[in-house]
């Protein structure tokens, strides 16, 4: 978290008053940690292809497949050609010019913390830098390059999904702006992995340019952090472990939007309607999105993390001493744990520096009042929530010297696609189903509206998650003893590990923090190892519990489904279609109120949690992954979550 509120500066302000062309043509000098001059793209690629590591892998692949080494080498060269970026300053300038125009049209402000940029500049002089932004919108993709160009910092090379490359012209422009393209499902393609990892590592070793990648792997459709993907993480850490660079700086970057450009697509995607394929035509058709107002965007550059400092005492670099460093080898357990913890830490730091809009606070309140809410009440509760999240340490973009009512109405009008006002009532903007449509259709339309609103709630959820887990634990616990509550808290944290992104092995610490947050705002009292909710704290705990209730409900529905008699062994695909039908019926009968259970993200997270808790076993057969449930264990889990039984006691680490 930033040590104090840092000032944000709107970079569009200058763009609105001076020439975009002269901005695009300004002089630009690169900062780097290396004294030696940077190498060319072709030298870089040549180094990759001639690397010892790739050579080992090519020999292995040739032996496995029986194909001649020469053919494998050509295949590798082909992969590299498809993948590699071709960063050219000229294209950055060109793109800079275009983006100036586009950003001014889309956004009121693009706010950047300049101190963060100064820190970044410092870090770039000291060691190779990895930029790690969150990913909520396609707009993320080039905004960092644009900012770094504006501030005279090295332009990054960016890991992008291969579909982007398929876009005519745009793909090539992106490539020349520093994008390199990675296939979506690499699976066990050894050669591909080797080319990719050697490519990334060579860029870092040579400090060719900062590497930018999304540790979440994908754009988050729920606007909530996704559990990290570790493949790239391992690649960027390894040059440090193997001593090939002195250090590597990881820079968490938080990009927050008042309104996400592709918001209308999000709900469809998480409901399982496939997203439109990225095509250039599609982009041109999307021009009408340009006519909308997307409010402010905040880009916050966090403190650079030194991998060397993080690894101190956790990773023994000597483990590489007895084996050639180029030899392909699986990461050891300590390396894997470190990569995992570091990825989670980066996500947490991204979350800490997110700037919450008043609207996402409103959405949080709205989600607890899906039937509609009086505007005055909404205002009152939103303002109350603002103070609560500020107490919890969040950054809120609440304009000063503007009446609360104005802030509210501005938020509501910006999000006319999500909410509408009917007199004093604020309601979700829901498309009316066509007459004669099936009742399922109505549920579906309702779900779209709710999940769209939920996405904006999700933007603020990370601030509430840990105290909310504590509130739920307090409500479930039979007694007020600290140990019992800790047990429940730890259980919930495990349960919602992928939903809310907790850092591994920090249960005790997180628990303490949650306790002290609630204690600080007078919600709980801690006396003699007992944690009790105060009278006036009840409103806070019930609010927090309600904030995560849709997830608890969703998980309960999923448990119920898996435990139902008809379910035995299933694939993820079977599960997702099965749970959808199951839930639709429950919603139609009014038995279930949560729409989050319809979100494929929540469904997948629940599966992952059950696997973590050993209540589901994963088996691979004929290229397919099957899950087989331990229904007794799932039943127990459901009972704990319902407060019927207590979880198994665990060691209370931090007390």
């Amino acid at each position: 978290m930033l040590s104090r509120r840092e000032d944000f500066r709107d970079i569009l302000e200058e763009r609105r008053t001076s020439s975009d062309l002269s901005h695009a043509l300004k002089s630009f000098t690169r900062v780097s940690s290396r004294a030696s001059p940077p190498c060319s793209v072709s030298t870089l690629n040549k180094t990759v292809l001639e690397s010892q590591h790739l050579h080992y892998i090519m020999q292995e692949v040739s032996k496995d497949t029986g194909e001649p080494l020469e053919a494998i080498r050509e295949e590798a060269a082909g992969i590299l050609e498809e993948m590699s970026q071709n960063l050219q300053l000229g294209y950055i300038r060109f793109l800079g010019f275009i983006l100036s125009k586009v950003f001014k049209r889309l956004f009121r402000k693009i706010n950047v913390n300049e101190e963060g940029l100064q820190r970044l500049q410092q870090a770039m002089q000291e060691s190779p830098v990895v930029l790690m932004p969150n990913h909520r919108s396609y707009v993320d993709f080039l905004v960092l390059s644009y900012l770094l160009f504006t501030y005279d910092l090295s332009i990054p090379v960016i890991a992008a999904g291969i579909p982007l490359m398929g876009m005519q012209l745009i793909g090539e422009i992106l490539r020349r702006s520093g994008a390199f393209f990675i296939r979506r499902s690499i699976g066990t393609d050894k050669l591909y992995w080797a080319v990719l990892s050697e490519y990334v590592k060579t860029i870092l070793r040579k400090d060719f340019a900062p590497v930018e990648f999304y540790v979440e792997g994908l754009r988050s459709r729920t606007l909530k952090s996704l559990p990290p993907k570790l493949g790239m993480m391992h690649m960027v850490l390894e040059p440090f472990f193997k001593g090939e660079v002195y250090d590597i700086s990881l820079v968490p970057i938080s990009i927050s939007y008042d309104r996400v450009v592709e918001e209308s697509l999000l709900a469809y995607e998480i409901l399982g309607v496939p997203k439109p394929k990225e095509t250039t035509m599609g982009l041109l058709k999307a021009r009408k999105v340009m006519d909308e107002d997307y409010g402010n965007m905040h880009v916050c550059f966090g403190h650079p993390l030194s991998v060397r400092d993080l690894a101190k005492g956790k990773v023994n670099r000597k483990q590489y001493n007895l084996i050639p460093r180029d030899l392909p080898m699986k990461p050891s357990e300590s390396i894997h744990a470190f990569a995992n913890t570091t990825a989670h830490l980066v996500l947490r730091l991204q979350q800490d520096n997110m700037v919450l809009s008043p609207w996402s606070l409103m959405a949080t309140i709205l989600m607890q009042n899906l039937g509609g809410i009086n505007l005055k009440l909404l205002t009152k509760q939103t303002v109350w929530l603002k103070w609560l999240v500020l107490d919890f340490g969040a950054l809120v973009d609440w304009p000063v010297q503007v009446a609360d009512s104005e802030v509210m109405s501005s938020g509501l009008s910006l999000h006319h696609s999500v909410v509408r006002c009917e007199g004093d009532q604020v309601l979700l903007a829901e498309q009316k189903p066509q007459r004669g449509a099936a009742p399922e259709e109505a549920v579906f339309r309702r779900a779209v509206a709710v999940l769209m609103c939920a996405s904006y709630r999700n933007q603020a959820l990370h601030v509430l998650a840990s105290p909310a887990m504590l509130s739920v634990a307090l409500s479930l616990a039979a007694a007020s003893s600290r140990a019992d509550i800790y047990n429940l808290y730890a259980f919930l944290r495990e349960m919602f590990y992928n939903e809310f992104i907790f850092i591994p092995d920090r249960t005790g610490q997180d628990f303490e923090e949650a306790c002290s947050l609630l204690q600080k705002c007078g919600t709980v009292q801690i006396i003699n190892q007992n944690i009790m909710v105060t009278d006036k704290g009840l409103s806070v705990t019930s609010f927090l519990t309600a904030a995560v209730e849709p997830f608890i409900d969703a998980y309960q529905v999923i448990f119920r489904y898996i435990c139902s008699r008809s379910v035995q062994e299933f694939t993820e695909k079977q599960f997702i279609s099965g749970i959808r039908t199951f839930t639709l019926n429950l919603i139609l009968t009014g038995e279930v109120k949560s729409y989050d259970v319809l979100s494929s993200e929540t469904q997948k997270n629940a599966l992952a949690s059950l696997v973590r808790l050993n209540a589901l076993t994963k088996k691979k057969r004929e290229e397919q992954t099957y899950f087989s449930p331990n229904k007794a264990a799932i039943g127990r889990t459901a009972d704990i979550l319902a407060g019927k039984i207590a979880p198994q006691a665990r060691t209370y680490s931090r007390l």
Binding site: A35, S36, K242, G243, E244, Y246, N316, R317, K318, Y320, N321, P324, R325
Partner: protein, 634 residues
Amino acid sequence: MMGRGTAVGSRSGMASDRSGYGRQRAARQRLEVISGHLGRQEASGACEGRQADDVHRNAVPRRRQDVLKWNGWGFRDSKFLFNKKGLAELTGKRYQLSGTLMPGLKDWFEGTFGANLQHRSPAVPALNPSVVPPPNLHAAFVEALKEATIPCTHEPEDRVFHSHGHCLHEIFALREGKIGRVPDLVVWPGCHADVVRIVELACQHNVCLIPYGGGTSVSSALQCPLEESRCIISVDTSQMNRILWIDEKNLTAHVEAGIIGQDLERLLREHGYCTGHEPDSMEFSSLGGWVATRASGMKKNVYGNIENLVVHIKMVTPCGVMEKSCQGPRISAGPDIHHFILGSEGTLGVVTEVTLKIRPFPEYRKYGSVVFPSFEQGVSCLREVAKQRCAPASIRLMDNAQFHFGHALRPQTSMFMSFLDGLKKFYITKFKGFDPQRLCVATLLFEGDQNHVLNQEQQVYDIAAQFGGLAAGEDNGQRGYLLTFIIAYLRDLGMEYYVIGESFETSVPWDRVLDLCRNVKERIERECKDRGVQFPPLSTCRVTQIYDAGACVYFYFAFNYRGLSDPMRLYEQVEHSAREEILASGGSLSHHHGVGKLRKQWMQETISKVGLGMLRSVKEHLDPQNIFGNRNLL
């Protein structure tokens, strides 16, 4: 006792007089050898070596402090100073550089360290005997020594002299007049039999023995353990310094282990031979010390390291004398017992006599140097030379900072010479496009018969050219070797002006050389910065030896400590971090300095718990009373 650095400089730079080897003298020498041989026969009686402290024969006398500095490196008559005009010079007449003025050093010194000649940090002028703790003598032991007529003393000056090696912290403390635990007695055995007697008596009276050879240890190996409550006796082997015989048929020489390097080479030279073993410390370090630390010599590419030179070792242990039964060039009879001795660092006994390989003195010698555009290219070149196995006697690669350091030591030259230098500089930096802040220099020393040398030279320069190297002349090569040789004197100069420094070394596989060099240098710089060192330190390295599978890398680290409250502690923390970085980057604990007490903490991870157990069991078998109680290594 320990070899400082891989090797030193040119023979011409050596402090000795080597002119005029007449026949007469050779004959006299031979007689001496024979009489030495005879002296050995009457072992129980008086040793010949003990009787006369022959100043003509030995560069170092029994009372070392008469000739050597008590609180610094080397000879008393030789030291660096800045004269009134601010020009640096080396006093005395011993060295090639003695008396020459070095105008560039002051600017380099002040610029590199942010030091100022106005700010001085002088040493205490003389040893104050009253600060030396009174000796804890074992009366019966001393009595028995006297009975055996083995000379010994408990004079404070001698005891202090034998209490340290040449680690920075040891010299720093002496300069401040701080004296810690020192030996209680110094004894000078004259021959193997004397040592046998001393060890017997020590076992009988349960006192602690610390063998002392040349006193050049840089691993705290000579420091007296604080926890030692018994009487500590420093066993100074300097009087055991005779060549007992030379076997011209097998090309071996049998030598007493106390002989110091320069004497050994000088005496062999009189017979037309050499060992070719030239550690940087060879002016002072002893044969026994080389064996005890697994020393390495500058010219190991031709002659081998100490383990390759040794044919037979005799060592006196508390269990008795350990030696082999014959001098076969290679023996398969279980693990080589020599390897328990090589590197035992005085923990098992005293090495008394060694049979060494000798070589005919080389007919031809040539220096050379190559400039590379970058250190990376230089390392690639050295790697290729190793691959083609065409290494000259010595090949070393200095990084850019050391190149500048070497440049600062250039003597004052005539107008014409500086004009020539200017031209060369222009050619390299402007015409060839070398960046003065990145280029580096390799120095070469070829030795052997002339044809061979010239062919080898051609091959090496051809390889260098492949990696962008330009031949840079013999002078530069020779000066490069001088730098290593006088570095310890220069450290004393720095200490006069708040600058402290140290060197340390490692060995590392080829593919990790560059990574290790960069990481360690950077670690030093960052640790200094983090610990509040105002001016960036000198953090520099060179590759000093090459092998088939890797190289030896040598680091210099120095900084200005003016204004820092506890420079020694800070220094030790940085050195500790640097060693951690070396180990994490795939480097070894030491290539040739040894472990001593300074690097003991890393022994287990270096040789594994099992390996350490093996060494311990040897120690327990040989020395259950811990008579050789210097507590090095284990």
